[in-house]
Structures are given as structure tokens and as C-alpha cells.
Symmetry: C2
Subunit: 147 residues, 2 copies
Amino acid sequence: MARPPKENSPITEHLAYLLAQANREINRQLEVRLSKEGVPVEQWRILKVLSDGDGHSMGELAEAVLLNHPTLTKMIDRMVSDTLVYRAQDPRDRRKVLMFISNRGESLCRRLDSLAASQEEHVLESYGDKATNELKRLLENLIDSSN
Amino acid sequence: MARPPKENSPITEHLAYLLAQANREINRQLEVRLSKEGVPVEQWRILKVLSDGDGHSMGELAEAVLLNHPTLTKMIDRMVSDTLVYRAQDPRDRRKVLMFISNRGESLCRRLDSLAASQEEHVLESYGDKATNELKRLLENLIDSSN
DNA sequence: CTTCAATTGTTGAATATTCAATATTTTCAA
DNA sequence: TTGAAAATATTGAATATTCAACAATTGAAG
């Protein structure tokens, strides 16, 4: 007796699953490093975005750091308490709030950058230079093609 | 006056960020499809893993579907209420609970599979066959190299 | 101008996740 | 065989996230 004609593909072959798995693993590695400074990955992202010194609105930030608005608001509240960032009203559009990084935030960000760099180096070593760059390229294209 | 010697790489160039971004986008697309059946992505994963008909322990399941134990326990509680899956004690090791998929779960899983398939097709169309397969291959290698 | 819809950010309640503690069973050394 | 340590799953409290409602400001049509 023949098997059913078309076996359904296991979850491990789905792109969505592979992305989730890879993301979790890399994120976990990064968390371990950043925990040396007691900072969650999302806060590092926020500091990085604000590092350009320009003011960024909450909406802009939320999009850039992959958080939705209310979650970002509450995380920013904590970071303001820690004096890592500060708020200012946008003079051109008073609905908006502009976020800026503080000196303390900048200095923390530099320390975080070197922790993150050590993580990237670890990937380069175990996964290879060529594969890493190729993967980055493909991910960028995937993201572009989704907009 | 010269610029500072080494510009720090923006967040958008970090592998961890690209993975998070791609994962969020693909996951979002998948959520939209699965919401037709009112099912979160994690439940689809659970049903897929249990589709082999074998019993899977909670620990095994948690690892496979990328959830930690307590979260999985609570999600399984809901799925048991919905009679999509059921528990049985492992006769060989009575600490363990074996999870099985029900008939209702199987039939839901088939409907979900076709929703998920339409999502993968959408990716193939906008991103291309070759790039998709290459990306999958690289992701698998990255995951392997992290263990 | 004035009014109404759209945009932006925050808040509070509802929901979900996580951490630490617990209960049960197994393993293994003495 | 017994007792201590490890493995497994669940629970409840603490924490975080999300959804829906709100307040403030701007834009734009009449």
C-alpha cells in the first residue's frame, strides 16, 4: 500500500521557523554579553539609534527598534529614570516628543558596542566570514522585498 | 579637521538586528494568515510538531517550538480546553507528560498548513526561489554552528 | 475662521510571560 | 536499600506586553 502522495513539510523547513530559531539563538548570545552591563537588547538598540545625536520621535524610534508604541513609552520611562536618555518637545510639531541620548547614555553605549562586537566576532569565528556576509546580504534583500 | 578614525557601525548592520527585523516581518505576515483561524503562530508550531503522531514530552516540545516551560504549560492548557491536544503520562518515566494531537487538532493543522503555504508562496514570489533556498541553507548552517 | 478628521504619544486594564519555588519521580552512590 | 541529587512539569507572584481609550495637536475641507 502506497504512502499518501504528498508528505507535509516539517516545521523545521519553513522559513518563518528557521528565522525564529536563528533569531532566538543569536539574541540569546547577545543577551548574555549585554547582561554584563545589565541592559536588555532593546535598550542597546535605542541607544544606538539615538547615537547620531539627532532627535528622534517616539514613532520613529518604535519602528527602528522593533517595539510597539506603548512598550517603547514604558521602556523610555525607565531609561529616563536612569538618565540614559531625555525627552524634549518638538518645536515644529508639538504632538511629537523628541528623544535624545545623554552623556551617560553615550558612555554606556560605547561599552555595549564592544560587548556586541565580541558577539559578532564569535559568530564570525564559528560560522565564517563569507557565510556571515552572504547571510546579511540576503536578509537585507528579504527585508527590502517585504516593503 | 579629520573625522574620528573609526565610525561605529549603525545598528542596521548588525546580524542580530537584521535577524530580528526579518523575523518580525515574516512572522507578522504569517500571523495575518493564521488569524483567519484565530490561532497564534506558536500553536501552529505545536500542532506541527505533534503531527507525527508520536508522544512528545513538555521539555522536548518547549525546545522545538521555542517557548520556555511555564509559557508552554499555559498555552497547552488552553489547547487542551479547545480539545486540540491532550496529555498522557509517560509510562516509562512518570515524571514526564506526553502530548498528543487530537483529531480536531489534526484537521485544524491541515487548514493552517495551507494558510502557511500561501505565506511561503508570497515570499517566493516577491523574493525569488533561488534567494529563498539559499537563505534557508545559510540559516540552517548558522543554527548548526551555534550548537 | 471653524470644525472635523488624522496624527502622535501616553495611560490603565487585560493579558501574557518569566522567575522562583514546589511536587513528583527517577537515578545513582554509598 | 536508602537517601541525596537530578530531572521533569506545574504553580503563583512579579514583571512585561498589548489593546483600547484618551488627550493634545495639527491638517484640511468647507
